[in-house]
Amino acid sequence: MKIITGNDLKTGAVIWWTGQDWSIHVEDAADVGDHGEQILAVEDAALRVNGGYVIDAERTAEGVRPAHIKDRIRALGPTVRPDLTLKPADPNAGNWVI
């Protein structure tokens, strides 16, 4: 699947396109098929996302998983600071990242 990600313009937070809006949770990412660039053009103008781009991902039983390690790290947070990731209390949070 193809999904869209970028950083929130105001906060810099990593965000994912859900089909209608942006979410900080990769699980919410929607498959955009071939429409990625089109959506990005509109969203760029809407001033929500900064540096948006389209990536490959896979939908697994546990959720949406970006194909590249860089985006998996973006999805969760720095691997060396589990306390600062999106799921700080979850010991299994990072199993799929690396």
Partner: protein
Amino acid sequence: MYRYDKYDQAMVDARVEDFRDQTRRRIAGQMTDDQFKPLRLKNGLYLQLHAYMLRVAIPYGTLNSTQMRKLAHIARTYDRGYGHFTTRQNIQYNWIKLEQAPDILAELATVEMHAIQTSGESIRNVSADHYAGATADEVIDPRPWAEMLRQMTTFMPEFSYLPRKFKIAVIAAEEDRAAMRWHDFGLRIVKNDAGEIGFEVYPGGGMGRTPFIAYKARDFLPQHQIFSYLQAVLRVWNRHARRDNIHKQRMKILVHELGEEEFTRQVEEAFQHILKLGSDFPQAEYDRIAAYFAPPPFETRLSDEIDRSDPDFAVWVDQNVAAHKAPGYAIANISLKPIKGIGGDITAEQMEVVADLAERYSFDELRAAHTQNLVLPHVRKQDLYAVWQALVEAGLADANLDLVTDIIACPGLDYCSLANARSIPVAQKIAERFADEARQKDIGELKIKISGCINACGHHHAGHIGILGVDRKGTENYQLLLGGSGDENTTQAKITGPGFDEDGIVDAVERAVEHYRGIREPGERFLDTYRRVGMDGFKEAIYG
């Protein structure tokens, strides 16, 4: 240390308000990202993996307790409670919100700090020996000249749109603690036979994708001609630089392509012309600036005795404390490399502890070292024990300066959007492998430096052991390099051979270290042994 006058303050304040307005316009949609990006980069604001990243300059690594407390306050209020000291005497915050960035810059301005020229095609924060003003082996304190260069080059229009970034380092000692020859423009202050002060000038260094060690262009440049000389260098570069090709824009490439001799010839020609324009600082201005760096009022008749009855303290003294020029004083290095920690990272609380120690025991002075450690430059030997106890309490008393676990590592793929691979976990695994204190001591001085990509922020070209993260078909892979150095005998590290995965690279480092231990001659450091025997034996030990 230098204090802003009303002009400095007015310029920095005005810049904050400019940026506030620019940020407002970007958020309101009156500017595109393409328009805004160069403006935010001029104020040290990057966009990284998880958020915006702010890089704050610490000119020549010198700061006082008020500034350190402000850095702590920023970490706590606007970031997630910590900061990261870099290899160029800057500090980076990793979790900055764009909407708050102008407020942070305003806070910094209240303590005479800013993030100007910490990015972009400008003359970057001028770095210097972190022992400046404290070490006995310097000709003079290099910081007045570093400060003058900072003033000359900040906001100077001719230097604002350079072909690429330009990095200056100034030292004044025989021993190079600032990786001076890895800079675009390295300066060593020397005294000639007539007792006059001048510069040895080393242009054309730099790391990154195409590393070059700076060459010596001048044995002696009279000190008051430095600004003319720098202008001449920049003018030649500006004239020829390959602005069409991002990989060829650094000055080192031009020096390489023209050849050292021709580059020097053109610089000298331009220099003769510029010198006549009379743009160099007069002596009175030097004296005015130098007065800010007058030595603190050292006490006399202090004892040189250190009570070493606490064995843990004695270990720390032996490893982390360096000789001071004033009798009864010492230079205390604070390691930011705890075994399970993240090199260069420091919490807001730790920053405050360090600020308190500086205020109480070091004439209110602190230094950030390019090795991602901190320094209390002027501590009475009789106070070292109290300092150490406070550091122990704060988790800052690791006695590993310059040892195998004192590793430089860039943020890598955990934070950096340009990275190929993670650096920090590799540093942590190596540190854990070599955690045993006796073994570290036995190995002796060994500088491991790790970069997460070819940009070489982690100085892998200058590592006795260097590690470079690469992308191998979508997975992290690490190349091993040996034999680099950033000291007075600067050398560039060489790649050993095929790369390794994360665990493999830790094993490979250990094999290289054990090979050294097996074949070293008495008194030899890892680097000495490598230089004596060369790559082959090491290669065999590493790859079997």
